[in-house]
């Protein structure tokens, strides 16, 4: 069986600095796969490479066996990859639910003609999309903001909204970049439940996260980066006992 996401010898240099160097790993469908490492280890760069926002200096990423080298982020989305951002990317010029409905972009195909005359087919699709987006907001736990402007939402709610938007695209794999950053303990616990729910749906989850308790509890496998290189890879148990990791990261 080929892996859903396969990274081979990935390298990204900014000038002379190698943010990511010779990284290889594979994520099987249905896993929760986490990438951890100290600040500046290259985790977000790795995510940006996988999702097509950066072009690798060397190496390649394969999604479902297909090389993603020539694909734009929107084409990766068409192939079932979606993500959230450490620096949240919410459209503040739209309402909360419109942000989630934006996630339905690929499922909503309407011609310019249908749109300009607002024909019944479009109205029907919009109604369905609205309902589904409202359900998703409920699902991620920001249902109380269905009628709100995005700019009126709290930080924690916006983080959830971003996940709802990614889920609206019906991805095969969802990449979450530090979803727990800035959340308090209660919110983090709720987030853990949410990630579990998403994984139980059969969606592959890739996670960059600092919260070790969250990561260790939830992940099937972990990748530890340090200075852009792979320090260790394995199950949470293996990582916990890896002397390199303990020395470099956990500071033990």
């Amino acid at each position: 069986m080929t892996a859903l996401v396969e990274v081979k010898g990935l390298d990204k240099a900014f000038g002379g600095v190698h943010a990511v160097e010779g990284v290889s790993f594979a994520v099987e469908a249905g896993q929760v796969y986490s990438v951890i490492g100290p600040n500046g280890a290259g985790k977000t760069t790795l995510f940006n490479l996988i999702t097509g926002l950066y072009i690798p200096t060397k190496g390649e990423v394969r999604l479902n066996g297909e090389s993603t080298a020539k694909l734009e982020p929107n084409q990766l989305a068409e192939r079932g990859m979606c993500r959230t951002f450490q620096q949240m990317q919410i459209c503040m010029n739209m309402t909360a639910i419109e942000n989630v409905m934006l996630g339905r972009h690929l499922q909503l195909k309407s011609s310019l003609f249908t749109t300009l005359f607002r024909l019944p087919a479009l109205r029907r699709d919009e109604k369905t999309a609205y309902k589904r987006a409202a359900d998703l907001m409920e699902y991620v736990g920001c249902g109380e903001y269905v009628g709100a402007e995005a700019s009126a939402m709290s930080y924690g709610a916006l983080k959830r909204l971003e996940i709802a938007r990614a889920l609206a695209a019906e991805p095969k794999v969802i990449l979450l970049d530090e979803p727990a950053a800035g959340l308090n303990a209660t919110e983090t616990a709720a987030l853990e439940d949410l990630i579990r729910k998403i994984a139980d749906q059969g969606i592959t989850v890739m996670l960059v996260e600092h919260d070790m308790k969250l990561v260790m509890g939830i992940s099937d496998r972990l990748l530890v980066l340090n200075y852009g290189r792979v320090l260790a890879e394995g199950t949470p148990e293996e990582i916990r006992q890896n002397p390199d990791v303990i020395a470099a990261y956990l500071g033990g």
């Binding site: 993500r83 934006l102 309407s110 300009l116 269905v146």
Partner: protein, 335 residues
């Protein structure tokens, strides 16, 4: 919630229609009718420009170029070659759409100031061509444009018509015609904004990277909205040419482009009804300040600056915010 949303969408259109019906009660002569007709045509133009600037967040400082191309295409096709008005208007719009697409593809990769400069240059090039192609356009002296006509029926400001048994003057007929066009232009714009295409456009403004990771081809949508706004400008340019009966390259000038942008910014970027108000204010203002004609450009610059500083959301959104705040206060006080 959805229903309420839909209703509010159409409510704006109904209010606008009512205002357009009431306005003639305050008009007494053909000059005033002419002003309001001009406002309606320019308003429809900036409703289209607002799709690009206000909703998709891309600037165009050369939109008068497209407006001018539409005007001149109509002038040349109907005047010099004797085409009927409607085919001239449509072919002109298609041609301008193609030009906008070809030009837009490369320049919309630029952002911010660079995009401003590129669109500025597009506008300048079009104005220069219209100025220099004397054989076709009559050069800086301009050219006459025949009256708008459909199937041998002419719409001229100086004609007399009967509408539903009512005798009306030509300038009144033009006002009605322009009002209907404005309503249709607004209706199309509202439909576009509240749709998957409209969300994609607005997401390009809100967060281009977020848009791309959920599958929005941002380059495609930027081109699309650039073309749509150019077609709006071209169609309105054609009507403007018919309405005035005479055009000069001034319709494609830099000053005109700035006027359009000022209308959008003053009225309210991203507010379809706001930019109509912007068009009205900035068309009427020079009349009020007729004594200071040489200061017109300075005034526009000042208005643009003051709006940016003191009401960045624009005239209409700021006014509605104040009114709704007052109403809430009042309701709170009574309770």
């Amino acid at each position: 919630m959805l229903n309420r949303f839909m209703q509010s969408r159409l409510r704006g259109l109904v209010v606008l229609a009512l205002i357009l019906v009431i306005i003639p009660a305050f008009l007494s002569n053909s000059f005033q009718y002419g002003m309001v007709t001009q406002i309606a045509i320019l308003a429809a133009t900036v409703v289209g420009l607002n799709l690009l600037v206000g909703f998709a967040g891309q600037i165009s400082l050369g939109h008068a170029g497209f407006f001018g191309l539409g005007a001149y295409f109509t002038g040349i096709a109907t005047g010099t070659y004797g085409w009927p008005s409607v085919p001239a208007l449509l072919v002109g719009a298609i041609m301008v759409g193609i030009i906008a697409w070809v030009v837009g593809r490369p320049i919309l990769r630029l952002k911010g100031h660079y995009l401003s400069m590129a669109t500025l240059a597009v506008g300048f090039i079009i104005a220069i061509i219209l100025n220099n192609e004397r054989a076709l356009t009559g050069g800086p002296d301009g050219m006459p444009v025949p009256a708008f006509e459909v199937f041998g029926w002419e719409l001229s400001s100086f004609g007399r018509y009967s509408l539903l048994g009512l005798e009306i003057e030509g300038f009144e007929a033009w006002y009605i015609f322009a009002s209907v066009i404005l309503l249709v232009a607004v209706w199309f714009a509202l439909n576009l904004i509240e749709s998957p295409i409209g969300r994609a456009l607005r997401s390009v403004h809100g967060s281009e990277v977020a848009a791309s990771v959920v599958g929005v081809n941002t380059a495609k949508y930027k081109s699309l909205v650039f073309v749509i706004s150019a077609i709006y400008a071209s169609l309105m340019g054609s009507l403007y040419a018919h309405f005035l009966g005479f055009i000069t390259p001034a319709v494609a000038s830099f000053e005109f482009s700035i006027l359009f942008i000022t209308m959008v910014v003053l009225g309210g970027m991203g507010s379809t009804f706001g930019v109509i108000l912007g068009a009205a204010v900035l068309t009427l203002l020079p009349q009020v300040l007729a004594d200071f004609q040489e200061l017109e450009t300075v005034m526009f610059g000042l208005i643009l600056m003051l709006t940016m500083i003191f009401m960045p959301k624009g005239l209409l959104p700021t006014l509605t915010a104040i009114v709704s705040k007052r109403m809430r206060k009042k309701a709170g006080g009574e309770a």
